[in-house]
């Protein structure tokens, strides 16, 4: 190493040091401000949820007691009125919904992922149709339910199952899309492994694909259900707008109401007691929702780690 090289190296070193070290780059603060703004955006969304919860909790506080879910709705006795029939109505709605929509949705997803030939125009049409259906306003499903299920061809009347069926159509696309996602995420190597052994397509699906896809499907389904549980508009149209002081006694019989409908009912009454009940009801609804979502997230985390 001669002295020329050494000087060159030394000067290079100095400039580099100046360059590499902090502060050399101008405008660093821009990045920080930008990041702060982004966090703010996220916070706006989250803070509102917190505000919704706090506001409902504060307002509904006087009525956040066991009577709320133990008692039936009452006009005379607003202080201890509850929403048991609404809670049960919602449970019935959900059971009817799950039994209807899960088999159809999962089957449709299997067909679209495993059997459908994407080059066929009608497959693409079904695909497009599912995607589009996923974004149709819920009130339109209410109209559909009213025209075809409550009245019209099915004429079920305003029974629980009519509500379940209406909600089923509403969440069907979500379930299909989530199940397809779950099926698609099963590694293709697993499929090839099975098919390469001479297993038939259905054997491969049944023995390899579905077991691996179940966690994803369950997660997607729970998330879809937690959407359905809060749907109000379509239920208003298909007959859940009822003051009922007893729980449903079947899927095809009698009157029912549901949590969000009961909340809406109370929220639009003049008396302060009902407003309080509405807020307390919001808390109950959110609690049910959070519970469902937590289960979904738990399932997802548990199983994605294993795969």
């Amino acid at each position: 190493m001669n002295s020329v090289t050494r000087t060159a190296t030394a000067s290079a070193r100095r400039t580099t040091q100046l360059n590499l070290e902090n502060g050399a780059r101008r405008g660093k603060w821009k990045g920080e401000v930008f990041r702060a703004l982004l966090i703010l955006c996220l916070v706006v969304a989250f803070v509102t949820l917190v505000a919704v919860i706090i506001q409902a909790a504060v307002k509904g506080w006087p009525r956040l007691d066991w009577n709320l879910i133990r008692q039936m709705p009452s006009t005379l006795d607003r202080e201890s009125s509850g929403m048991q029939s609404a809670l049960f109505g919602t449970i019935y709605l959900m059971i009817g919904l799950v039994l209807t929509v899960v088999p159809i949705g999962v089957s449709a997803a299997i067909y679209m992922e495993e059997f459908a030939d994407q080059s066929k125009w009608w497959v693409r049409f079904i695909d497009l149709n599912i995607q589009n259906l996923a974004a149709v306003p819920s009130i339109v499903f209410g109209i559909l339910g009213l025209a075809l299920i409550v009245r019209g061809p099915l004429s079920l009347g305003t029974v629980v199952y009519a509500g379940s069926l209406t909600l089923a159509m509403l969440v069907l696309p979500t379930i299909i899309l989530a199940s397809r996602e779950a099926i698609r995420s099963v590694p293709v190597t697993l499929r090839n492994g099975s098919l390469g052994l001479g297993a038939t397509k259905w054997q491969t699906i049944w023995h390899q694909v579905l077991p691996s896809a179940v966690p994803g499907m369950v997660t997607g389904t729970i998330l879809a259900l937690s959407r359905a549980i809060g749907e109000t508009a379509p239920l208003l149209l298909v007959g859940a707008t009822v003051f009922v002081t007893y729980n449903p006694d079947g899927f095809f019989d009698g009157a029912y109401t549901a949590l969000p409908v009961q909340i809406y009912q109370w929220a639009s009454r003049p008396q302060e007691e009902f407003r309080i009940l509405a807020s307390a009801g919001v808390i109950v609804l959110l609690a049910v929702l959070l519970a469902m979502n937590s289960i979904a997230i738990w399932i997802r985390n548990k199983f994605t780690r294993d795969l």
Binding site: D117, Q118, S119, P187, T189, L190, R191, N192, G193, S194, L195, G196, L197, G198, A199, T200, Q203, H207, Q208, P211, S212, L307
Partner: protein
């Protein structure tokens, strides 16, 4: 960590490196018939993915109880050809196969042929070991079960397959554990055990060692040489030395770009005994490839 092992191999000195060097062929003087006795054969095989012409006019004969290696640069269609042999390409919706693929003189693309049945005769092992998320035992038993194979005792059958795959000693105490609990090389041998459990005639292997370390690789290579006694093996490999070590015959593919579209279509350049391909290839492109000028 510097090596203190004394060098065991005589090495040519650095000045000799200007000369073209080739991989070591396992058994150059072996008595192999000049023409394979084909158990499987392709004739004018062309494969398209949609409009893309992936493989052009491949004529190959795979000899019974031989190991045939398919080599060539990335994207030249080796895997594509391999997948045609047991109709795994049926699973790629855009794939279209032209030409004839004969298995015991039956066209596997014939109208009455059931691809499922084809795959029961021609097993497959993949690049990435893909055990099922089940126990080791169930991995091996899966094939016999789904094809409804009659076996006297499934336990015995599983044991025998694991023995054939040189895996029995390592797993015999944990047959109920998940296949995922094994190391990469063991997983790959499990996949081989799984493939032979259905008693296929031919085993296709697509770069079975490319994700494995030297020790696991050499275990699989030994296994292949043993399996050759009972099965016909066709292997795709990137590793020329591996082809040279294990195969009886080698097919060299390359890809030729289309002048107008720039799409690269794979084609068979040369097919011959392995010793010939690595010794005195008759095509300049083979020569270039095995001497490492590209790929």
């Amino acid at each position: 960590m510097t090596s203190n092992t004394p060098k065991e191999h005589p090495v040519s000195n650095a000045t000799a490196t200007a000369e073209t060097k080739r991989p070591t062929v396992r058994n150059p003087g072996e008595d192999l018939p000049n023409q394979p006795l084909p158990v499987m054969e392709t004739r004018a095989l062309n494969v398209f993915y949609g409009d893309f012409h992936a493989v052009h006019d491949v004529d190959l004969k795979f000899g019974r109880h031989e190991i045939t290696a398919l080599i060539g640069p990335s994207g030249c269609g080796k895997s594509t050809v391999l997948r045609c042999l047991n109709r795994m390409n049926d699973l790629v919706p855009s794939a279209r196969v032209e030409g004839t693929v004969l298995y015991h003189d039956i066209d596997v693309y014939g109208p009455k042929v059931d691809p499922i049945e084809v795959r029961r005769h021609i097993g497959m092992v993949f690049q990435k070991a893909n055990p099922f998320p089940k126990s080791i035992y169930d991995n091996v038993a899966y094939g016999p079960r789904v094809i409804g194979m009659k076996v006297d005792s499934m336990d015995d059958h599983v044991e025998q397959c694991l023995r054939s795959a040189a895996l029995w000693d390592e797993v015999k105490d944990k047959l109920k554990e998940s296949g995922y609990s094994l190391s990469g090389g063991q997983q790959q041998r499990l996949c081989i055990a799984r493939a032979i459990a259905t008693k296929p005639d031919i085993i296709l292997m697509d770069e079975p060692c490319s994700a494995l370390d030297p020790i696991a690789t050499s275990a699989i290579e030994d296994l292949m040489l043993n399996l050759r006694e009972e099965y016909t093996i066709i292997i795709v490999t990137h590793n020329m030395q591996q082809a040279a070590r294990v195969s009886d015959r080698t097919a060299f593919f390359t890809a030729r770009p289309d002048e107008t579209t720039g799409n690269r279509t794979g084609l068979l350049v040369e097919f011959d005994k392995t010793s010939k391909i690595f010794g005195t290839p008759s095509d300049k492109r083979t020569e270039d490839y095995i001497s490492g000028r590209f790929g």
